[in-house]
Amino acid sequence: MRTDRELTFEDVLRYAGAHEAQATFEAQETLLTVGRTERPEPTGSTDPDAPSACGCGGACGREDAGAGGEVGSSALDKRVDRRNALRMLFGAAAIGSQVASACTPLSGATEAEREAKLLEWEEYFKGHFKLMTAEEKAATIRRLERLTELRKGVSVGISSTDAQPGVVFGYAFNISKCQGYRNCVDACVSENNQDRNSRMQYIRIFEMEDGVVDLDHADATFQHEVPAEGHFYLGTQCFQCANPPCVPVCPVQATWQEPDGIVVVDYDWCIGCRYCLAACPYWARRFNWGPPEVPAEELNPRQHYLGNRLRKKGVVEKCTFCIQRSRAGRLPACAEACPTGARVFGNLLDPDSEIRWVLENKNVFRLKQDLNTEPRFWYFTD
C-alpha cells in the first residue's frame, strides 16, 4: 500500500529522531521532493477543486483531511503531504527532547514561550479559511485565542460567524451632517485593534470648501476647530464594492467578498504583495509595514477571524464594516460613535431599513462611479 510518495507519522518520527540537524535537513529535502511529485489520489474522496481553489498547489492539508477516513483512525498510519509532514516533523521534535539541536525554531526559555512557538508553528500550516472544515476553524481559533493569551495576557474570543442569508450591508454618509469631529475614526481604531505605532486609520475625513466635491484639493489632516466656516466634510473608508477591483488581483485569493457584501482578508493567507492596495481606486486598504502594536489594555477582546483579530507584520487589512459587530446585529463602531447622525447603516435587502429609505428619498451619489466598482456606500445631502 505504501508508495514512495506516501509518508506516515512513523517515517517522520524516524527522520526526526535518528539523526541530528543534518538528517532533519535531508528529511526536509525528501519531503519537498515528495510534495512536488504529488498528484491527487484518484480513488480518494478528495475534492478535485481544492488545490486550484486555495492556490497552494494542493499542499494546504485539505487532501489529507479528505483521505483520513480510508486509512482508519490511527494517526500513525495516516498519509501525510508535505505541509503536514513538516508540521509534524517539527511538532514532534519540539515535544521530544532528544533532538533539541534540530528544533531551534521551537525552543524557548519558558514553558509559555515554548507553547506559543509550537502554536505558531501549527498555525503556519493551516489552510485557507474558506476551505477549512468546522473542526479546523475551531482548532485554529483555539490556537489564536491561546496565542493572544500567552503573548498579550488578554483572554479574547474570536468568532467565525458566517454571513446571514438575506442580508447585504449598505452604508450612507450625510455630507450635510458630518462636522469633522473624527469620533468615527477614534472608535474605529479602538474597535478594530489597528496599529497604534503607525497610527493606522481606515477612515479618512476630508475637509473641502463648500460647493464642489474635490478630493484632490481636500485636506484630511486638519487639526483646527471644526466645523470650519465655509467647509464641509466627507468621510471615506472601504466601500465594500459590489464589483471589487481589489479581489481578482490577489494572486493567492487571500481576499474575497462574503455573501453579505463585506470584502474580507484572511490575514494568515495574505503574502503581502500589496496588489490590492494598488488596485483599490479609493485607497481603502492598509498595509502593516511593521509589527502592529496594540496595548493590552486597549485590546478589543471581541474579535472575528476575518475582522479585528490581531494582525501581523506584512499583511494587508481593511475596513470590514466591523464584521464582528454587524454580523451580531450591532451597528459598526463608526456609525455608533458618530455624534451627528451622519452615518446610516443597514440591510439593503430589507425594504423597511433606514438605508433603503435614504436611497429612495434622498439625492445620493457615489465616488468614482465611472469606474464601475459599484460601491455599497452612498453619500447624500439633507
Binding site: N183, S190, I205, L215, W283, A328, G341
Partner: protein
C-alpha cells in the same frame, strides 16, 4: 405648497389626541408615582405628519427592549462610545411611518432634574418667581429667537414637564419632537424615515431612535465648534505634504 399641506396635516393630526393630556396630568398629580408618570408619557400613540399614517396599536405602558436585544454597548477597554453613553434601554411610545414602526428613546432618562415636579409644585408659578436664582442658570435660551428667555414659550407654566403646542393640548417632554415638528417638519420627516438622527444599538429588529433633544439642545441648538480627534499621519490624497 405641499409642505404647507403636510404641516397643516401634522397640526391637525396632533389635535386628534386619543387621550386628553390635561386629564392625565391631573390624575398624575394625585398619584405622584414615577411608574404612573411613565405610564402616561408612554401613552397611546399619536402618529403625525406622514401620509398613510396608521395608528399603532396601543402598546403596554412602556416598551422594554427584550433583554436579548440589548447588547453590550461598551467598546474596547470597557469604555462607552460617546453617543452610546446617551442611549437608553427603555423606549417610549411607538410611531408609524408607512408600514414601518419605530420607537423613541425616553429623553427623560437623561435629564438631571427630572421629574420637574420634584421642585415645580403645580400652581406655584415657581418658574417665574425664582428665575434669577434657580438651578437652571446654565440654561440661556436663545431659541426660538423671537421668544428669547421666555420659558413659557414652550413649557406649561404649571408643570414644565409638559410642552405647549400651537392649537392643541400640551405634550409630554418625551414627545418633544412634536414641538420641533411645528417648524422643522422637513427634518422630522427625514428623522422618521431614517436619514436624520440616530438609531440605537442595532441595524435589525425593532427600531429605536433618539429624540430631537437627545442631540440638539432645545434652548441653544447651535452646534459649537471643537477640536477633532487626531488625524492620520499619511493623508494619501490632497495636496502633497512637505
Amino acid at each position: 405648497m405641499l409642505l404647507t399641506v403636510l404641516a397643516l396635516a401634522g397640526c391637525r393630526r396632533v389635535g386628534e389626541l386619543p387621550v386628553d393630556p390635561h386629564q392625565t396630568r391631573v390624575a398624575r398629580d394625585s398619584q405622584a408615582e414615577p411608574a404612573a408618570a411613565e405610564h402616561e408619557e408612554a401613552g397611546p400613540d399619536s402618529a403625525t405628519d406622514e401620509e398613510e399614517v396608521s395608528q399603532a396599536a396601543p402598546e403596554g405602558p412602556l416598551l422594554f427592549v427584550a433583554s436579548g436585544l440589548v447588547l453590550d454597548r461598551r467598546g474596547p477597554g470597557g469604555r462607552l462610545f460617546e453617543v452610546a453613553r446617551r442611549t437608553s434601554e427603555r423606549v417610549g411610545h411607538q410611531r408609524t411611518i408607512g408600514r414601518k414602526s419605530y420607537s423613541i428613546a425616553l429623553r427623560s432618562e437623561n435629564l438631571t432634574y427630572y421629574p420637574c415636579s420634584s421642585c415645580h409644585v403645580p400652581g406655584s408659578r415657581i418658574m417665574h418667581e425664582q428665575r434669577a436664582s434657580d438651578v437652571h442658570q446654565d440654561i440661556q435660551p436663545v431659541h426660538p429667537a423671537e421668544n428669547n428667555a421666555v420659558c413659557t414659550a414652550c413649557h406649561v407654566v404649571d408643570d414644565p414637564e409638559w410642552l405647549t403646542i400651537a392649537g392643541t393640548d400640551p405634550v409630554p417632554l418625551n414627545e418633544a419632537y412634536r414641538l420641533c415638528a411645528q417648524c422643522h417638519f422637513i427634518q422630522v420627516q427625514a428623522w422618521a424615515g431614517g436619514a436624520h438622527g440616530k438609531r440605537l444599538d442595532t441595524w435589525r429588529g425593532p427600531r429605536v431612535v433618539m429624540s430631537c433633544t437627545d442631540c440638539h439642545n432645545p434652548h441653544d441648538p447651535g452646534i459649537p465648534t471643537r477640536i477633532p480627534f487626531p488625524g492620520p499621519r499619511v493623508p494619501r490624497t490632497g495636496p502633497r505634504q512637505p
